[in-house]
């Protein structure tokens, strides 16, 4: 910017000769970096000075309250969170695969049905789906979701996850090169045999990184089980934290529960990234 004023002579073939600026690019970079550090230090000082640390610690990190969460934090709450989300993930994967295959089917009504399901359940808030499940016995008298509260929670997560999973798997199936199907068919395999032995295994490999991220998002959505009115041995992390926080009138359990989520989600995120990298190299 600063060399604009000095560049007045007619430009040669390679543009105007580089004029001497007031600051060299290196100098400008140094100044810019110094400014950024100053802003950071000022912001940090403001936080340290203006936050009431004692009261914050009292409310969010009280060791006595944190101790009260054990061992149920792991033996009940985390265990249930994992049951809901792994159960939901497994069924979402299977139903998603069926939906993806329907979406690619040569039978038109199958394509429509699958598309309708995907569009509807991808477009609804997860919480709304859990509320619907809550009212399901009213809509269908005598109907009961198998597996009781676990079943209801898993059903909700299955509905939420399967629509996304279907789209991911469809993309995975379509990412397998056309020549793979042709090679399989030319060896005498039927369409379904080629799908099962050749196409689906490759598609699943392709979608492992994105489905790992979907598992993380299901794990977080499992907190919505709260709205099914679970209690006692069925509580998952969020409900557990919320209940204890009310009991002790202290937010520490919520913080503890948050850290517990991160114990699972952060390693999974790293795993997804690593799988993605490995896939980029291999094949």
């Amino acid at each position: 910017m600063t060399d604009q004023s000095t560049a007045t002579e007619p430009s040669g073939p390679g543009g105007p000769p580089p004029a001497r600026a007031r600051f060299s690019p290196r100098k400008r970079q140094q100044i810019s970096r110094a400014v950024q550090y100053v802003i950071l230090v000022v912001a940090a000082l403001a936080v340290v000075l203006f936050v009431d640390w004692a009261s914050l610690a009292q409310n969010f990190a009280k060791p006595e309250v944190a101790q009260e969460t054990l061992p149920e934090l792991f033996t009940i709450a985390l265990k249930n969170t994992l049951i809901y989300s792994i159960g939901g993930f497994v069924f979402a994967f299977l139903i998603g695969l069926v939906l993806a295959l329907m979406r690619l089917s040569s039978v038109r009504p199958y394509r429509w049905l699958s598309l309708a399901y995907i569009e509807i359940f991808r477009g609804l808030p997860a919480l709304l789906i859990f509320l619907m499940i809550l009212f399901l016995p009213l809509a269908l008298p005598g109907f009961e979701v198998p597996g009781g509260l676990y079943g209801q929670g898993i059903l909700g997560l299955t509905i939420v996850g399967s629509a996304y999973m279907a789209e991911t798997l469809r993309a995975g199936l379509q990412a397998v090169p056309k020549g793979q199907m042709e090679a399989a068919r030319s060896l005498g395999m039927s369409y379904s045999r080629a799908m099962i032995s050749i196409i689906i295994p490759q598609a699943v490999r392709i979608v492992i990184p994105p489905t790992t991220n979907q598992f993380v998002s299901l794990l977080k959505d499992s907190s919505l089980v709260l709205f099914l009115g679970v209690s006692g041995e069925y509580v998952e992390l969020t409900k557990f934290g919320n209940d204890l926080a009310s009991t002790y009138a202290n937010a520490t359990p919520i913080l503890v529960v948050g850290v517990t989520y991160l114990l699972v989600t952060i390693p999974l995120g790293y795993l997804a990234t690593r799988l993605e990298k490995r896939q980029g190299k291999g094949r």
């Binding site: 090679a183 399989a184 030319s186 039927s190 490759q202 291999g282 094949r283």
Partner: protein, 253 residues
């Protein structure tokens, strides 16, 4: 009536892609044990013709017989018919999630229902035929293009086909790897395999083929022994194509 004596018989074959007419009336036969090379400029329909022989491409009209079985019949068991026809692709199309051995055994086991031991024995025999028995446990990505193509040939051979189709098998290979694949194909021809080969390798066509078919614009222009079609072409289109291929630095631009 049924032409059992031909390995392949094609009658008045037409293929359209939308409004584009790729094949415009092909009549032609391949006799058992014959090696037929199909040559011609790109876009002449030669790959489409080959893909119609095992119905990877559905002809618009016309009939295709393989060993007397009409593949274009609406009630044909196409999977059963394809077992008798091996196909080798330009891009190899090996299954990347399986080892070389699994690539060569999967169809034997799933389609022919051969046992594990038998299918592995046949797989190793065929890998040996293409000179790759030591690569049985490698994955396709660990092999060179020439090795991958030879595995693809072994995979097709393991189904004990009576006819092999080659769709430009050396076109995706680095020049120094072409020879390995052509050598395997020549050996196969000498063993008496019926082969239909779409290729740009004129030396291979001249030395190995019993017949050379020159296609242009969706029709067969010339069909005869290599000495005739490549050595002394009758048609101007054949002559100009061969000039371009055999002497690429002196073509009229």
């Amino acid at each position: 009536m049924t032409p059992v004596n031909h390995a392949v018989e094609i009658r008045d074959l037409h293929k359209h892609f939308g409004r584009l007419e790729v094949l415009r009336g092909i009549d032609f036969t391949v006799e058992p044990g014959q090696v037929v090379c199909v040559i011609g400029p790109s876009g002449s329909g030669k790959s489409t013709l080959l893909r119609c022989v095992n119905l990877l491409e559905q002809p618009t009209s016309g009939k295709v017989f393989v060993e007397g079985v009409e593949l274009t019949h609406i009630d044909v068991d196409i999977d059963a018919a394809r077992r008798r026809v091996g196909m080798v692709f330009q891009q190899f199309n090996l299954f990347p999630h399986m080892t070389v051995l699994e690539n060569v055994t999967i169809a034997q086991r799933r389609v022919l229902k051969r046992g594990k031991a038998e299918s592995e024995r046949i797989a190793r025999e065929n890998l040996d035929r293409v000179g790759l028995s030591e690569k049985a446990d490698s994955y396709p990505a660990q092999l060179s293009g020439g090795q991958q193509q030879r595995v693809a040939i072994a995979r097709a051979l393991a189904m004990s086909p009576s006819l092999m189709l080659f769709d430009e098998p050396t076109s995706a290979l680095d020049p120094e790897l072409v020879g390995d694949v052509l050598t395997v194909m020549r050996k196969l021809a000498e063993e008496g395999m019926t082969m239909l080969v779409v290729t740009h390798e004129m030396a291979f066509a001249r030395d190995v083929a019993d017949r050379v078919v020159f296609m242009d614009g969706g029709v067969i222009v010339e069909d005869g022994p290599p000495d005739q079609v490549i050595g002394a072409p009758q048609h101007e289109r054949t002559k100009s194509f061969l000039r371009r291929v055999l002497d690429p630095t002196h073509t009229d631009v």
